[in-house]
């Protein structure tokens, strides 16, 4: 049951499926970051109605399970004839697009809170000092606010990015052939109970481990002032 050839064969099929998992993950994190930047900006805009929209967005997309959001987009929207007749249909008819869209919308809510926290954490004195030197607007943001906020956001951001890898397993429920659904298919076809799930688990675990290492590396790289001096 647990023979090497079967494990190897399962592994090869799951590695092919890993492309789908990683595509949904990378695209949703990437586009989610842009939406999140927009939401964080709206939240800090100082205009009350705009702030409420941002708050409502975070409340809805963080408060409801991703599975519900995914089903609303994939099954719910498609049930309207008007949607099927609209120009969006060429996008929404594809399960991959729906999956990526819902993952992006969901992670954006979490990411926007991370951005907001990081921006709020920039010491006020730093900004004052930059202004005293004559920086303002974009220059101030690029040289002072962004670098400090980025460093502060990284630990929480890595957690969110890793939790998105795990969340992509849900796309198996909307007909996509990602690692999770291929593992379940192998399980159903061969009636081998655990091996496919164990191999899939190992793949997810290694991917998450590598991402976590990469973030630790970036963190150290971006914090040269915290490194021990050799001299």
């Amino acid at each position: 049951m647990m023979d090497g050839a079967f494990i190897w064969e399962t592994f090869l099929r799951l590695i092919v499926a890993l492309r789908v998992t990683l595509s949904v993950w990378a695209l949703s994190v990437f586009f989610g970051a842009f939406i999140a930047a927009g939401v964080a900006w709206m939240r800090g805009s100082g205009v009350k109605p705009v702030e409420w929209v941002a708050r409502a967005y975070v409340f809805v997309f963080r408060g409801a399970p991703l599975l519900v959001q995914l089903f609303v987009v994939y099954y719910g929207l498609a049930s309207f004839p008007a949607v099927r007749a609209s120009i969006f249909w060429s996008f929404l008819r594809d399960a991959f697009n729906c999956a990526t869209l819902s993952c992006a919308l969901c992670t954006a809510a979490y990411q926007s809170e991370i951005f907001r926290g990081a921006l709020a954490g920039v010491p006020h004195g730093q900004i004052e000092a930059a202004r005293a030197c004559g920086m303002s607007g974009f220059l101030l943001f690029r040289r002072v606010i962004f670098p400090i906020a980025l460093r502060q956001a990284l630990p929480a951001y890595s957690t969110e990015v890793i939790s998105m890898v795990k969340a992509t397993a849900l796309v198996s429920l909307v007909t996509l052939w990602d690692v999770m659904s291929v593992a379940l298919k192998i399980r159903n076809d061969t009636l081998v109970t655990y091996t496919p799930l164990l191999v899939a688990g190992a793949i997810y675990f290694v991917v998450n481990y590598l991402i976590a290492r990469a973030f630790i590396f970036i963190e150290q790289w971006l914090s040269p002032h915290l490194r021990a001096r050799s001299a």
């Binding site: 599975l67 609303v72 099954y75 309207f80 849900l170 429920l173 799930l197 688990g201 675990f205 998450n208």
Partner: protein, 238 residues
């Protein structure tokens, strides 16, 4: 059928079923959080104990379940718990297949995931207790058990509350994954209703709204609990 009728409490309405699903979601999440609390405090204790083997086991459990997709854990616990129960039954001479009830398997899955995160919450809470308090307890002659239930437990609970509140929300949302096992909690009920009425949008949005109600109401409860638990603590001067 109009969506108001479909969602309503009339003869053909799905309102009661959805509310029952929400109650089941609540129960399975509470059970999951409780199982997670037991596992989490065991892992926290193993890490604080200084016993190397225990710490390694605790660390391994937490690392594995934090690194796996929640859905995979749900499948694994669902398939695995029935197989384990059947195997145990065969050891004692049983012959048939024994299935673990969906509720138990679901609570176990949510609990195993939650426990791997609760471990860190409890460990942090324990480390937040001022050392002097533990020394003082020993100095007045309190034994292990007495100092645990008079000094350590009340403070750990107080310091752990914010973290537990977050993990409660996670457990509530993770419980939606149990729908794949067929347990008729909120998500599964929404799916069934969506299928039989051909109104997926209405029912997934309704399901989502009920989840939002659960998360926001329980958020209030945790806020209240936190305010109550810290009522005797000195506020930091501003």
């Amino acid at each position: 059928m109009a969506w108001t009728t479909a969602l309503g409490f009339g003869e053909r309405g799905w309102g009661p079923a959805l509310l029952e699903g929400a109650v089941l979601t609540l129960l399975v999440s509470i059970a999951g959080l409780a199982i997670g609390a037991v596992l989490g405090s065991l892992v926290a204790w193993s890490k604080l104990s200084g016993v190397r083997v225990a710490a390694a086991i605790g660390e391994g459990y937490a690392a594995i379940f934090r690194g796996l997709p929640e859905l995979l854990v749900v499948y694994f616990v669902y398939f695995g718990s029935s197989a384990a129960l059947t195997g145990l039954d065969h050891l004692f001479g049983g012959q048939g297949f024994l299935g673990v009830p969906g509720f138990v398997a679901g609570a176990l899955a949510v609990g195993v995931i939650s426990g791997s995160y609760q471990a860190e919450v409890f460990r942090g809470a324990f480390l937040a207790i001022a050392k002097g308090e533990l020394e003082a307890a020993r100095a007045v002659g309190m034994g292990r058990w007495l100092s645990f239930h008079r000094i350590i437990a009340p403070q750990v609970l107080r310091f752990a509350l914010p973290g537990l509140g977050n993990l409660w929300q996670v457990a509530l949302k993770d419980s939606s994954l149990i729908s794949v096992t067929g347990l008729s909690e909120l998500m599964r009920t929404s799916q069934v209703a969506a299928g039989s009425t051909h109104q997926p949008f209405t029912f997934y949005v309704a399901g989502g709204a009920l989840y939002l109600a659960l998360t926001s109401i329980s958020d209030r409860v945790f806020e209240f609990a936190e305010a109550r638990a810290t009522r005797g603590m000195r506020r930091e001067a501003h």
